[in-house]
Symmetry: C2
């Protein structure tokens, strides 16, 4: 599967087409271009366009929080997240220099708090897991939590401070990756990919057919279209069903001239629901989010808004004073095991970079590195092999490929 030069048909050697202009597609394109590959990125929507449900990257809050996202049974994913979080400082420095755009990377840590007794029990278990995994976090009393974030409700039971769980602005990250990619030689094509065409006996070659009929020949193809990846027709069933997991959230801000509501990312467990407030330097706060399994439905619902406001308000009553500047609906791409699908498939030259679920922003640097390795050597680096795309079959999903 290693590209050995002399691509099929008239595709120039070392030519890569990346399908999808979200964070995963763009970091892959940028890193591949830096490796000397000739990269074309296919994406229908402009990177500076409005947030749309099609692009989870423009909706995401941008938490880089492997410690406070830790889940029993997902240790390998958390390790991958910790690796990627550790790459962030260097990644941001390189990207901001390469793209000329600052990405709103804030290294102020995350405070995770619990609302009721049951939430506190979950948080205590989580802290034990963090300790076992060697992640630096600190248990705090209710009083200590409120000393850090005075706007927290007095009823907050206690918390865990994760000093290394930071945040970034995914919209700025997306623009910076587009700019850096362009400077590194990535060519962008506005269009929607409909099919990956396979090399075959009848003279067919690997390539990507767009909805306007154009075919982009390629040495290698990366499908990185989030939960839409399985809507692109491929020669064999190599893409498992990627289920969209709907998230509703809102963006709000303090009135002009007032200090920020919170100084760091505040996450909460509120009667079993997870909630978060992610502050930006300009006074904006991202408040979210629902997790709903409703297919490709992207409607903003009264119930979704209500849930987000209810839980955020329980933790931080002052949320009610914020001006709502935007409501957002996004679709997270969930794979069958909720872990990413990276690297080569059994169709020669066809790679996946999808299924990042709730972790796309966090995993952006590591995904870029792993995918560049796969595209240049034919294999994922050791640390990413668990997430190899060919671990799951797309067979179950063939009926929807028409």
């Amino acid at each position: 599967m290693r590209p050995t030069g002399g691509g099929p048909g008239d595709a120039p050697e070392r030519t890569v087409v990346v399908v999808g202009g979200g964070l995963v597609g763009r970091v892959t394109a940028w890193r591949a271009a830096q490796e000397g590959l000739r990269v074309t990125l296919v994406e229908p929507d402009p990177v500076t366009g409005p947030a749309g449900a099609r692009a989870a990257s423009t909706v995401a809050a941008g938490m880089l929080t492997p410690a406070t996202e830790a889940v029993f049974g997902e240790e390998p994913l958390m390790e991958f997240g910790v690796r990627s979080a550790g790459m962030y400082p260097g990644f941001v420095a390189e990207l901001e220099a390469a793209g000329g755009i600052r990405v709103g990377y804030r290294t102020t840590g995350t405070l995770l708090v619990a609302f009721d007794r049951d939430d506190m029990a979950v948080l205590t278990d989580l802290h034990r897991l963090q300790e076992r995994l060697g992640i630096a976090t600190e248990r705090l009393t209710s009083r200590e939590c409120r000393r850090l974030e005075p706007v927290l409700a007095p009823s907050v039971r206690g918390g865990v401070l994760a000093p290394d769980d930071h945040s970034v602005d995914p919209r700025l990250l997306l623009r910076a990756l587009a700019a850096a990619g362009g400077r590194a030689g990535v060519t962008e094509t506005a269009g929607r990919a409909e099919e990956v065409t396979a090399p075959g006996p009848g003279g067919a070659r690997l390539g990507v057919r767009l909805d306007d009929g154009r075919v982009l020949p390629a040495h290698q193809v990366v499908l990185a279209a989030g939960c839409w990846s399985d809507r692109v027709k491929v020669p064999e069933p190599v893409v498992p069903p990627l289920r969209p997991v709907k998230g509703q959230l809102l963006r709000a801000r303090v009135p002009a001239g007032e200090p920020p509501l919170v100084g760091r990312t505040v996450r909460g467990l509120v009667r079993g629901f997870t909630t978060y407030l992610v502050p930006r330097a300009d006074g904006e706060v991202v408040i979210g989010a629902t997790q709903e399994e409703l297919g490709y439905d992207t409607s903003l619902t009264a119930g979704g808004l209500w849930q987000v406001l209810r839980d955020a308000r329980e933790l931080v009553p002052g949320v009610t004073e914020l001006e709502v500047t935007e409501t957002c609906v996004g679709l997270r791409p969930g794979s069958p095991d909720n872990e990413p699908l990276l690297g080569p498939t059994r169709v020669p030259g066809l790679h996946l970079a999808a299924g990042h679920f709730r972790h796309g922003v966090l995993l952006t640097p590591a995904t870029g590195e792993a995918m560049a390795r796969a595209l240049t050597t034919g294999a994922l680096p050791e640390y990413a092999r668990r997430f190899a795309a060919d671990r799951v079959s797309g067979d179950a999903h063939t009926t929807t490929w028409e």
Copy 2:
């Protein structure tokens, strides 16, 4: 004060300038034009433009509910409301014929329900008031309420059915009034009025000066700019301070193909808060609203959205399934005594039609009739005299007129 022909300066006789293109301004302009007056309406925003906080008419839900709005101590206002509600069928028929636009008038009545014991006590008192005033309403048990509207929460304690409290779509009403006005000869001028100039010894005449410097000479002027009326400079302090009362609400709809959520307007008292759901024929439901005294602030706040959703959800849990299509913020124009300000002021030729607070849509037909009478005879009809503009002085407010 009666117009006797021979207007001041070169203003054509019987020329009227109406400042403000909301429902009150437009119904006044239409009715005045029907009386043979030469009417110019000054309004900066197009009638088909987006809902804006400047125009309460485009935000209002459109309840025509004098019975369920009845308040102790406001009987005269309620009587005015009942009169206007009674005019609606004929008004709508005439307007739809004249304007060629249907206005979404729904004669399905209103169900007012109570959530807890205290709310039920308030509702019981209200029903007694309605009975004393001779308004036809009917007490219902919780079960009877849910028979009428099966989506009501089982916890609803009981209610009152007001079979004559109807609704209209204010946005359609606004368009119909603009069309009917145009056909009746109303001239529209896009612009913002800055000053009413007075007739005076130096040759000055009554007129309206716009922000672009144009002056529209007039025989009579009607200030009908809602809570902005007191921002127009006038020769003497005849406009009392009109305080904006902020309302936040949302528009939502059932998923395509599903039956309407409610069959009639449902109003509720929920732990002392008032809430309503006003259905439209196309499946839209208007859900509101906050009442906030925050000056001219028109920000959509997290707390406002939350309150509206919280109370509506208590009454109708199925609200959570609705798709939110629009969030709105409007400013109701509140006079010092919360009653309208109609007709002549002590500046000869200058009339007010403002201060309709929560009742602008309901009072539109009666206001049109009363203002046309004032403009043609110099005096309000008997039934509207209580609301005479000259009952309150604007003296207290002169310092803001610069």
